[in-house]
């Protein structure tokens, strides 16, 4: 469904990516891992159109999306839960959900009710402005917001960062539930153990290059990969 090949580029004169690849199939959960600063977020920025690759090709649902503006890509069906949550501080929880909602197809489409079922905590805080939510609540809101655009591919960048173990677990469980609905997911996280539980396929990034790919069991076995590229 999404395939990015040999992505190169970066910020202005600073090149960050030197050939990153990601492929996601329908209904698949893909994990993108690597140490700090290896270009995971940068790759995602290219997938969502925030950055335009200097070289390489990205196609989504059969069409090239290189150079397509961000909002068009979002409408094609890529939903993003960005690094650092990025909720709208001056909108209430309820308004976040209203603004983001876009009709999805069929009975499986995400609605405000379904999101609130998934995150009951948000239901309790509907009238509260997002800037006054705690980190975990904001993270839930960011995920709910992305789901409500009814994407075909959901991208999560460090969705459990800075969360308490309990909440972190909650988020992982929600992700698992979401993945079961058949949505394609790209997830970036440091928690290898959790990733191994839900991801079907792994892409390891080092210095802006995809250095290893394989499925979950292969990844669990590949101790040298862990040592060399992930520092664990």
């Amino acid at each position: 469904m999404l395939s990015a090949c040999k992505l190169q580029g970066g910020y202005g004169a600073v090149q960050v990516l030197f050939g990153a690849d990601v492929q996601v199939d329908e209904g698949q959960v893909v994990a993108l891992v690597g140490r700090n600063g290896m270009g995971k977020t940068t790759t995602i920025r290219m997938l969502t159109g925030e950055l335009v690759p200097r070289d390489g090709e990205i196609s989504f649902a059969g069409q090239s999306i290189v150079g397509v503006p961000e909002f068009r890509i979002a409408r094609l069906g890529i939903g993003l839960v960005p690094e650092g949550r990025q909720v709208f501080p001056n909108l209430t929880v309820e308004e976040h959900l209203t603004v983001a909602a876009r009709a999805g197809e069929g009975g499986r489409a995400w609605t405000v009710e379904r999101v609130l079922d998934l995150f009951p905590r948000l239901g309790e805080r509907q009238k509260q402005f997002a800037k006054t939510l705690s980190g975990g609540e904001q993270q839930m809101l960011a995920i709910g917001r992305a789901l409500l655009t009814n994407p075909r591919l959901l991208i999560l960048d460090e969705a459990t960062e800075g969360l308490a173990p309990l909440v972190r677990r909650e988020i992982w469980m929600c992700l698992e539930a979401v993945a079961k609905t058949g949505l394609s997911v790209i997830v970036v996280d440091k928690n290898i153990k959790a990733l191994c539980r839900i991801a079907h396929r792994f892409f390891v990034l080092s210095k802006g290059k995809t250095v290893w790919t394989g499925n979950a069991s292969e990844f669990a076995e590949a101790a040298d990969v862990h040592r060399q590229y992930l520092g664990v």
Binding site: T48, G49, F88
Partner: protein
């Protein structure tokens, strides 16, 4: 006593008029964080356009509508050509570039109009006065202008607070990148908001035309006052802008009316009559300073 009531009415009236002028500025600041010094110029464009259209169409209502649309169109153009490049810049750059716009707009209009003050007749229907309860005779035109301002205030509040478009506008104000990620064209939203702000300025100019002298430089006089209002209200808050406009209107009007009386016990008549206007002119700024010292973010910070 009746005169005091009348002065309060004058103050509310003036406040609503000021709101109409400041609303567009507040909107543009709130969404794009843009300090638009050229807002006054759009106000001026509205007034001149209304005068020109009134000349052609001989119809007041039509001329106001045309002037509003023209100002919005000018806003659209200016946003696309210049202003769009300023969003990511510092406030300082914005001040500078829009200052350049003022210089240009003033000279252009002076060149087109020959520098002569323009005239737009007040509409026949509203050229007289109305009798208010309590025996206060009040200019009908002012009543009309202020009701339009009140309606505009209400409509803006409804749109911003209650509609999805309003939420989108507020969301773009705080995090445009994320708005793009949920599938909306922020560039278009900005252009539209700027055009609406320009249209509001144009509407204010067209409606104020029959009350004042339509001349080059009229924009700068309202500009400063509008900024004062926007800042007192809390940047980008329409509700705050409304409240601040009313406060400024009342303080200014009552200051002008009461300051001579207040001072007359203390100073000689000559000193009073020359010092009172100066002191009442500073009242608005004193109000702003007091509000900002107590609440640096303004009355309603976003």
């Amino acid at each position: 006593m009746a005169i005091l009531v009348e002065q309060v009415l004058n103050g509310i009236n003036y406040g609503l008029l000021l709101f109409l002028i400041a609303a567009g500025l507040s909107l543009v600041f709130g969404v794009m964080h843009l300090i638009n010094l050229a807002h006054g110029s759009l106000f001026m464009v509205g007034a001149f356009a209304a005068a020109a259209f009134a000349h052609i169409t001989k119809n007041f209502l039509l001329s106001v509508i045309c002037a509003t649309l023209l100002a919005a169109a000018v806003g659209w153009l200016v946003e696309r050509v210049i202003v769009r490049k300023l969003y990511a810049r510092s406030h300082l750059d914005q001040v500078l570039a829009t200052f350049g716009l003022i210089l240009f707009a003033n000279e252009l209009l002076r060149w087109i109009s020959g520098g002569v003050p323009q005239y737009v007749p007040s509409p026949g229907l509203f050229s007289g006065t109305v009798m208010l309860p309590g025996g206060i005779e009040y200019p009908a035109y002012r009543m009309m202008v202020t009701s339009i301002a009140a309606i505009a205030a209400l409509a803006m509040w409804m749109v911003i607070a209650k509609t999805r478009a309003g939420m989108l506008v507020r969301a773009s104000a705080s995090n445009p990148t994320m708005v793009r990620h949920i599938g909306f064209d922020v560039g278009l939203i900005s252009t539209l908001v700027f055009a609406v702000g320009a249209g509001l300025a144009g509407l204010a100019g067209a409606l104020t035309g029959p009350l004042v002298s339509i001349e080059v430089g009229m924009g700068e006089q309202v500009l400063i006052l509008s900024f004062v209002i926007v800042v007192i209200g809390g940047l980008g808050s329409i509700r705050g802008t409304f409240l601040a406009a009313m406060m400024v209107g009342l303080v200014d009007t009552l200051g002008r009316a009461l300051m001579p009386l207040a001072l007359s016990g203390i100073f000689s008549a000559r000193a009073v009559s020359s010092f009172a206007p100066a002191l009442s002119a500073t009242l608005v700024y004193i109000l702003m300073a007091v509000v900002l010292i107590m609440r640096p973010q303004g009355l309603f910070a976003r």
